[in-house]
Symmetry: C2
Subunit: 190 residues, 2 copies
């Protein structure tokens, strides 16, 4: 769980001893590429910290198509946060798009952790504050950019994703057909 | 600042005495309808808690039009959170759409408050966790709903906004022209 310890250390100092005390609140899960950590409609009360690998977060649209709304890679927390907070069934699926290992914090464990180790409030406040700021910025971009501009923005700001994520998922995330994405890419190369 | 005290009390117990101690970190500002709390491009290091009234959060698009991306009413914190965290110039304007009073927390004051009164981490963790969950859900809706469906969703889930917010701002928020919004409304009444 070295990666989580390092991530916490970005926001506050945590000693080896203290980290080994709180480690019992977390558990570990690994999945092969294309396996699901979570399927839409399942009971769900977990947050995932990506230790290695990459996942996509998606839901099934009325027309039956899978719509990817987000990705998460190393050092990101992900979940269906609304379902998590309300203890409702998940509205998203979370699937490994590479071999992926995650550190799990259940809702129960999170509540106990924060009561017993209140300094961890600082960590999660910082995590959620940063995530919310990024999300507000993303909403701005959804209003601001044409679909073509959105692709170039994504490519220039998150080059790692373009390398790692299959084309059809990037197309879904950007609201394209894979064919349209392929056209834009050709145009940008020529 | 009774409204802020009540809001904190939703997440943790805070005594009159303790609240009066932390009150010095906050300040107060009132604006008339249509006045700006913040203009895009200004230096900005504040978070606003809406005590009464309503604001819209917007930016100017390349074509010169004002694009509303969000609203905030009583008991919501609002800001340009990315600019706030990076101490950059604001990418949004925040404007009163009714006579509005806000409680202000500057970035400096926030940092001092959290060091001196670490229990307030719990409050802001909860505030940001909730805001992020709502934002993730909103991104889902932006992918899921047609523009017409988005109007009905907004009307059914936030009836108060429809009453309080001028039509042209609701249209902007939903990505409509005011004429298109008017058509949908007529259709839904008949």
């Amino acid at each position: 769980m070295e990666s989580l310890k390092n991530h916490i250390n970005n926001y506050l100092e945590i000693s080896e001893t203290t980290f080994s005390e709180i480690a019992r609140f977390f558990s570990y899960q690994g999945k092969k590429k294309k396996e699901y950590f979570l399927r839409e409609g399942e009971e769900f009360n977990k947050m995932f910290f990506i230790e290695s690998g990459c996942v996509n977060i998606s839901f099934i649209k009325d027309n039956g198509q899978e719509q990817t709304i987000d990705f998460a890679i190393e050092n990101w927390w992900t979940s269906d946060f609304l379902s998590f907070s309300k203890s409702e069934k998940s509205r998203f699926s979370i699937r490994a798009i590479e071999d992926t290992s995650v550190i799990i914090l259940t809702k129960d464990a999170k509540e106990k952790l924060l009561v017993e180790y209140p300094f961890m409030e600082t960590y999660f406040r910082a995590v959620f504050e940063k995530a919310y700021a990024a999300s507000q910025n993303r909403i701005k971009l959804l209003y601001e950019l044409s679909r073509e501009e959105a692709y170039f923005h994504f490519r220039d700001n998150f080059p790692e994703f373009i390398q790692r994520v299959p084309q059809y998922l990037i197309a879904s995330f950007l609201g394209f057909t894979p064919e349209y994405l392929s056209e834009i890419r050709k145009k940008s190369i020529s």
